[in-house]
């Protein structure tokens, strides 16, 4: 990490030089991502990783064209060259521009903030962290009886994201966010029954305190027993329409995919049309119905400990909760200052960039369905015949975010209000309107799940949480899982 004064000097130099060279708007972001990782297979450490991605990203608006340039050579001459390049290329593109890029007026921050680890990364020795991997493998292996634990791939990552953002409209934000993440893939096989596979990500901002909160060794033991039972005993799900209780993990993913993404204003305006696609939401649709009164989805970057945590976005705008769908109505989109200008609103601080090489674009942070009043038992007790799907394996959604599919992993038959046998691979294939219009009851407890959300070109993966309570839908026909 550069010293604070050096960092400040570099970004302010870039902004001032760009303004002097003809940019009507200039922004510079010193951005350093550093991480340490330990990768294992079946408890054996394959290797250790160390990564530092550090440099400066510069954006300019010149005569209505937008240029971006990035370099990791941090002397003034390289930064000057990067600014000159961004300006020259924006000028070249001007003749093809039809709608000049303009940014909305915004209340911009001048602030420094830092997330503190309750338990620092160095409070556990390397041996203890490496030992954790073999403990996980032992936990998985000892929990399996008749089947076999075939593979457990684990990647443990501790990281810091440090930034200094300055722009010609007066923003100056310095930030430091530590994060911890565990990615794992397990495979359980049986000679006659086939295999079951589970990918999972755990992630948060903060330090090693999350390892205690996650209790992964116990979780893996319990999960492994469950997965083995699924492999050995699960039955086909009902073919007729049934009541469906969807677990918070899937609800979280659903609101991310079918509310968060289609609410990105840049997507609605077509800026990502050739990559991540467009949106079923068109400009002017705010205020229209998308579901019933149970459909309220919030995206909030400021949730303490969240994987997608930030207090100011990469344009210097202060973060706040965004109510994307509110009681069944398309309410508010995710905006940066460019989309806010077109919509005639204020930016709600959705501009994020993955690293110094990435332009800030409209992103989610932590997206969740607003909780209701039901306990899980209450969601289930009056279901005559149904399925409770707690976790998923495969999912996808079309590029306008309307037709989506989730194939359940841990799923149970519900008969006369009681949870019964496991069911195998129930496929929920549903439209966005179908989901939000048919939420019949909403659980009271919100749980969050971690993910890396992809968007942009070159692709940018940014950490997010998605979550929600369990919900119930009535009379849903489950789809085909696989031929």
């Amino acid at each position: 990490m550069l010293r604070g004064d050096v960092m400040e000097d570099l970004v302010l130099y870039a902004v001032d030089y760009a303004r002097g060279a003809g940019a009507t708007y200039a922004e510079a972001r010193y951005h350093r991502n550093s991480l340490r990782s330990i990768v294992s297979n079946n408890g054996l450490i394959l290797g250790v990783g160390s990564e530092v991605v550090e440099g400066i990203g510069i954006r300019v608006v010149v005569g209505g064209a937008l240029g971006f340039s990035a370099t990791n050579r941090l002397e003034r001459s390289s930064i000057k060259a990067a600014v000159d390049r961004a300006i020259a290329q924006a000028k070249n593109a001007l003749r093809l521009m039809k709608h000049p890029v303009e940014l909305a007026e915004s209340r911009l921050g001048r602030a420094k903030y830092s997330v503190l680890e309750a338990k620092r990364f160095d409070s556990l020795s390397f041996e203890e962290k490496a030992g954790f991997h073999s403990e996980l493998w032992k936990a998985l292996s000892r929990s399996i009886g008749e089947a076999k634990a075939s593979a457990l791939f684990v990647e443990y990552v501790e990281s810091f994201e440090e930034k200094a953002v300055a722009n010609s409209d007066g923003a100056f934000i310095e930030s430091r966010v530590p994060r911890i993440a565990l990615f794992y893939n397990l495979v359980i096989t049986h000679p006659q029954k086939g295999s079951i596979q589970r990918w999972e990500t755990l992630g948060a901002s903060g330090g090693l305190e999350w390892l205690d909160k996650w209790g992964l060794i116990n979780k893996l033991e319990e999960d492994a027993k469950t997965y083995e039972k699924i492999l050995l005993t699960a039955i086909e799900p009902p073919k007729d329409p049934i009541d469906l209780v969807i677990g918070s993990e899937i609800v979280g993913l659903m609101v991310h995919e079918s509310c968060g993404h289609p609410s990105e204003a840049d997507r609605i305006l077509g800026r990502e049309a050739a990559q991540a696609g467009k949106s079923f939401i068109k400009k002017g649709m705010a205020g229209e119905n998308i579901g019933n009164e149970n459909a309220t989805v919030i995206d909030d970057p400021s949730i303490p400990g969240s994987y997608g945590f930030y207090l100011y976005d990469d344009e210097g705008v202060p973060a706040k909760p965004r109510y994307l769908y509110k009681e069944g109505v398309i309410n508010e989109h995710l905006h940066n200052r460019w989309t806010a200008k077109i919509y005639g609103v204020e930016s709600n601080a959705a501009a994020r960039s993955m690293d110094y090489k990435s332009e800030p674009i409209v992103r989610m942070a932590n997206t969740y369905l607003k909780p209701g009043n039901y306990r899980l038992e209450e969601l289930i007790e009056d279901v005559e015949l149904g399925v409770y799907v707690k976790s998923y394996m495969e999912w996808n959604i079309d590029d306008e975010r309307w037709s989506q599919r989730y194939v359940g992993l841990e799923a149970y038959l519900i008969e006369r209000g009681e949870i019964k046998d496991f069911v195998r691979n129930p496929a929920l294939e549903i439209t966005t309107g179908g989901f939000y219009s048919n939420i019949d009851a909403v659980g009271r407890e919100v749980k969050f799940y971690a993910g890396t959300c992809g968007k942009g070109e070159p692709p940018q993966g940014v950490p997010v949480w998605f979550g929600g309570p369990d919900v119930r839908l009535r009379k849903v026909r489950l789809g085909v899982s696989v031929a």
């Binding site: 290797g47 160390s50 370099t71 050739a274």
Partner: protein, 446 residues
């Protein structure tokens, strides 16, 4: 710059030895890249990168450490190296460990650098103009896309005596056209060399499919014979060839787990190659990350799995020889090509009684890599084929099936191959349209 890059790599290897590592390799890559994005038939942003990345492999008593830096200077890498040596003492031996290979003479590849690509790094907007103009020759409403150009210099040094450098250029373009009501089409191209005509053709194909796919009608779910465009087949084949990486097989992330070279894994008609020495495709390279000379190879030939992709580590672990596909940890394909068949697209359509032509897809996800169970969503033009003719444009569909079924049910391959590279096909691929029997097609039930 090459000498300077090579010096960085060599200095790192020397330093690693001084610090006490038994083995090391350093790969320094300097990239100049310009990308122009188009949205609503105008540029949305022009991005430029000038960056140096240095990736270092370190081994100490069979322990493995990988460092990746975008360094502001080398002192930071040295400091981290010293820290990591302390860590190395505490790591258990890696089950993947094998010594770095000794140097083998590398025959350089000619024609990897196109001066025109380097020149256009400064001024890509004329290519954008070509794309926008060509797409609008059809009655479309708008076009979006990406023009991406790069010049990459890489220098590799290893403690076993490898000292190599190589320069290359690359270019990819993809365009997506929109025509109301609800029509859209997408196509792509790529090469080591600038190909303005390729950009124009990609734009024209995207626009043609956009116009033809307007006025979509519903389609029933069920089994269909599906003609996949090179965009779609390229996406599924990239997944397939990545699963042929021996590392993915070892990690339980492959449908080739439990299979071995010589096993039948696909239709007799399928021939798939990894072609690092095909200088038409932009990941062409003469040496891999271990300094092993690359060679073109069949991965699947006549439906038979011919080889997994290996580096020296996976090869040692599995009793094979390296295929020149390192990745120090995970081997990967360089460029993917598919042996052509004998049919034109029209002839292929003519042979289908009830089928679907899918021109593009995205969001392919697997529920189980070992069994290859996946689904993928169509985007852009989809057409119903009845009795040998395209009869209507249809709404988006989802294909939900098993990759082994897809590979085994290949019925026919086109005689023309297309260079494809875009968001969902990240390994440059050259492949034709393909006809696949009995693919499961689904759609939402609510």
């Amino acid at each position: 710059m090459n000498e300077e890059l090579l010096r960085i790599s060599e200095d790192l290897v020397k330093r690693a030895s001084v610090e006490g590592f038994n083995e090391s390799a350093a790969l320094s890559i300097n990239t100049r890249r310009t990308m122009l994005k188009i949205a609503n038939s105008e540029p949305s942003v022009i991005q430029h990168w000038n960056s140096l990345s240095v990736i270092t492999y370190l081994a100490k008593d069979r322990r493995i450490i990988i460092m990746e830096f975008h360094p502001r200077d080398e002192s930071e890498i040295y400091k981290s190296m010293a820290d990591l040596l302390k860590v190395a003492a505490k790591v258990m031996e890696s089950p993947l460990y094998a010594p770095l290979p000794e140097p083998i003479e590398v025959k350089p590849l000619e024609g990897l650098v196109d001066r025109e690509v380097i020149e256009r790094l400064e001024e890509p907007s004329t290519l954008a103009e070509v794309a926008i103009e060509a797409a609008h020759r059809e009655k479309i409403d708008s076009v979006a896309g990406t023009i991406d150009l790069w010049y990459r210099e890489k220098a590799l040094s290893t403690s076993s005596g490898v000292s190599l450098h190589e320069d290359s250029t690359g270019f990819q373009a993809y365009l997506r056209a929109f025509a109301e009501p609800s029509g859209s089409g997408q196509w792509s191209t790529c090469s080591t060399r600038l190909n303005s005509r390729g950009v124009e053709e990609a734009a024209l194909t995207a626009a043609k499919y956009a116009v033809e796919s307007r006025y979509r009608e519903k389609v029933e779910v069920g089994k269909y014979d599906v003609i996949m465009s090179p965009m779609v087949f390229g996406n599924l084949l990239e997944l397939t060839v990545r699963m042929a990486s021996a590392f993915n097989v070892l990690m339980g992330l492959s449908m080739f787990m439990g299979r071995k070279p010589g096993d039948k894994v696909a239709s007799d008609k399928l021939r798939v190659f990894d072609e690092p020495r095909n200088t038409e495709l932009p990941r062409a390279t003469s040496f891999d990350d271990e300094g092993v000379p690359t060679h073109n190879k069949a991965v699947i030939d006549g439906g038979v799995l011919k080889t997994l992709l290996h580096n020296s580590k996976t090869a040692s672990k599995m009793g094979a020889t390296t295929t020149g596909n390192a990745g120090w940890i995970s081997p990967a394909p360089w460029n993917i090509t598919v042996g052509r068949g004998g049919y034109s697209l029209d002839e292929m359509i003519g042979g289908v009684k009830r089928g679907i032509l899918v021109t593009n897809n995205w969001y392919t996800r697997l529920q189980n890599y070992v069994e290859g169970v996946f689904s993928t969503v169509s985007r852009d033009a989809v057409f119903l084929i009845e009795n040998g003719k395209v009869t209507k444009s249809i709404e988006k569909i989802r294909m939900a099936d098993r990759l082994p079924n897809i590979l085994n049910n290949i019925e026919a391959l086109g005689k023309e191959a297309y260079n494809i590279m875009w968001w969902e096909v990240t390994i440059p691929s050259k492949l034709p349209y393909v006809l696949i029997k009995d693919v499961s097609v689904t759609k939402p039930t609510l």
